[in-house]
């Protein structure tokens, strides 16, 4: 499937592939059609994490990408070698080895020390910034830039990588399922009697350039769901409403905090991996980007729909010119979405 090569400049142009696991049917819509698939009493859950500038250049042959912020205030970072954003991460040169105690100067008043090096993956290091509080955040925003992608035709700015409803900067890459959602669409969803709820999930790196490390993604990522959103979701489920997760990050957080079948407030980490054999306790549907087979994202989709249905739907999407990756089109997987009166559908 082709990648979207730039952030969308026109509003509401993203396409929406609707997949109904119940009828094994799929159909083409626009993202602005999303409200018609939701009913009063349903809940749409969004990840409100803003995207950090997570790429720090130390030297020509060393870029550090922040991966995770740990509870003690230190950060996990991935070292990449020579090369720039035009090259895929797997084509980047080998970075110099970093030892514990090494001093890193990022310029712009930001510096750090290497606390430790991962025993198995030496390119993963734990660093402690030498600045604190407002001094740290200001210096980080000055010194770092958003993670860039080789398939894009121009560099990304911070404005390009934020969803429209962001708050705290927890995400290392954009939680991209929310990118196509305009407030025009969200307010129309709300006007149908659908509740909007939110959580914050620190969406992590999508690629490290190391197949062995990639196979371990996603890492344990922190998330937070407050009592208010928990109440909205639980009320919705108790009344027979459906819960629709916007993105794989939201799905993992909801299922991690809802393993008992009832969602609880949480501020913790989850390494929960979902796949074809997972039983979903909270989520009834998923709004996501279009992913490729073989990725952890695709495996998660199999918790919502059988592999054969997904494969045929996505093959159709590829034929129809849907776009994938961060600024691509959308896919709604929702049982019963096309069950009553689909405008056009194909048996998968």
């Amino acid at each position: 499937m082709k990648a979207a090569t730039a952030p969308r400049s026109a509003l509401n142009r993203e396409r929406l592939l609707v997949v109904d696991p119940a009828s094994a049917a799929f159909s083409d819509f626009s993202i602005t059609d999303l409200p018609r698939f939701l009913n009063a009493g349903d809940t749409l859950v969004l990840n409100d994490a803003a995207t950090l500038p997570a790429s720090l250049r130390v030297a020509e042959d060393l870029e550090l990408r922040l991966m995770s912020r740990l509870d003690d205030g230190t950060w996990l970072a991935l070292a990449l070698g020579r090369g720039d954003s035009q090259e895929p991460t797997e084509a980047r040169g080998e970075p110099p080895r970093l030892d514990a105690g090494a001093h890193l100067d990022f310029g712009h008043g930001l510096s750090a020390r290497v606390v430790s090096v991962d025993a198995r993956f030496w390119r993963v290091v734990r660093i402690a910034f030498e600045q604190e509080q407002s001094e740290l955040w200001q210096a980080l925003y000055r010194a770092a830039r958003p993670i860039q992608y080789a398939y894009l035709d121009r560099p990304l700015s911070l404005w390009d990588v934020q969803n429209r409803y962001v708050a705290r900067p927890w995400a290392f890459e954009v939680p991209s399922a929310g990118k196509p959602l305009s407030f025009e669409t969200l307010f129309r969803v709300e006007a149908r009697g659908v509740t909007l709820a939110h959580l914050t999930h620190a969406a992590g790196l999508s690629s490290t350039g190391d197949p062995l490390l990639d196979a371990r993604l996603p890492l344990a990522e922190r998330y937070e769901i407050d009592e208010h959103s928990v109440a909205l979701v639980n009320q919705s489920k108790a009344r027979g409403g459906r819960v629709l997760a916007v993105g794989t990050s939201v799905t993992r957080a909801l299922e991690a905090a809802g393993e008992s079948g009832v969602l609880r407030a949480a501020s913790e980490r989850t390494a929960l991996l979902l796949g074809p054999n997972s039983r979903l306790h909270i989520c009834d549907g998923l709004l996501t980007g279009l992913h490729e087979p073989g990725t952890s994202h695709y495996a998660l989709l199999e918790a919502f729909a059988p592999r054969a249905v997904l494969d045929r739907s996505f093959q159709h999407a590829e034929r129809e010119g849907y776009l994938q990756h961060e600024f691509g089109d959308s896919c709604l997987i929702l049982r019963g979405a096309l069950g009553q009166a689909p405008l056009a559908s194909w048996a998968a």
């Binding site: 700015s157 934020q162 409803y165 705290r168």
Partner: protein, 241 residues
């Protein structure tokens, strides 16, 4: 609304009304982010709040620079959490002594609009989405009587504040059903450096004290009955000159 524990962001907080607003919010228990062009000028105000057991942080930003806005919002929310109270107080007069429109450079008008209008729009656009999602938030736009009266030589500032008033109404119109309030406040004539720069001959004894105006504005923020989309005058809400 109980101010205590809320996250507030005040622009132009190093002096004058912005300083007084930040201190008032801090003393009432809000977690306050103070924004100004120079971190050094903000630090003494932060210290005042912290010494009185408040929570406050200084962030440097140019409200006229689009590239400063996500770094500002990101750093602010990292420090105090999602913003509940956003006060657009930073203002640019333009060159002083103030000039007739025919003597106003285009670039000077653009700079005034960038700080007084585009900056508030950009920052609200970043922050109000989260407010709408959480169904709570208040956006205050600090205006001026120059927004409704056409005083000679106040052209650039006047048009920026007139537009800011209307921006406040428009946010209110679009977000009223989503738990977000927006209004503008005319603080009246105050004894500030900006006032002295604009009208150096003014009798300071006749001017309101920023601390009194700040108290009245924070009262408006905390009052549930404050009219959404309104243009309020500080002199009418308890701050006498």
């Amino acid at each position: 609304m109980d101010i205590s524990g809320k996250a507030a962001l005040v622009t132009g907080a190093s002096r004058g009304l912005g300083e007084a607003l930040a201190v008032e919010l801090g003393l009432r228990g809000a977690k306050v982010v103070l924004v100004g062009r120079s971190r050094q000028s903000l630090e003494p105000v932060v210290r005042r709040i912290v010494e009185q057991r408040g929570e406050a942080y200084a962030l440097e930003a140019d409200m006229g620079a689009k590239t400063d806005m996500y770094p500002l919002a990101g750093a602010a929310t990292a420090l105090v959490g999602p913003i509940d109270i956003l006060i657009h107080n930073a203002s640019e007069l333009g060159p002083t002594p103030l000039r007739l429109l025919l003597d106003t450079e285009c670039e000077d008008l653009e700079r005034v609009l960038a700080v007084n209008l585009l900056g508030p729009f950009r920052l609200s656009k970043i922050i109000a989405g989260s407010m709408a999602l959480r169904r709570q938030g208040t956006i205050v736009h600090v205006s001026s009587d120059a927004s409704v009266s056409a005083y000679e030589r106040w052209g650039a500032y006047s048009v920026s504040k007139a537009a800011l008033d209307h921006l406040a109404r428009l946010w209110a119109a679009e977000l009223a059903g989503h738990g977000v309030r927006s209004f503008s406040v005319d603080p009246g004539e105050m004894d500030t450096e900006m006032h002295a720069a604009a009208l150096p001959e003014a009798d300071r004894a006749l001017l309101a004290r920023p601390v009194d105006v700040a108290r009245a504005i924070v009262q408006l923020v905390s009052a549930d009955a404050t009219p959404n989309g309104g243009r309020l005058e500080a002199s009418g809400i308890g701050a006498e000159s």
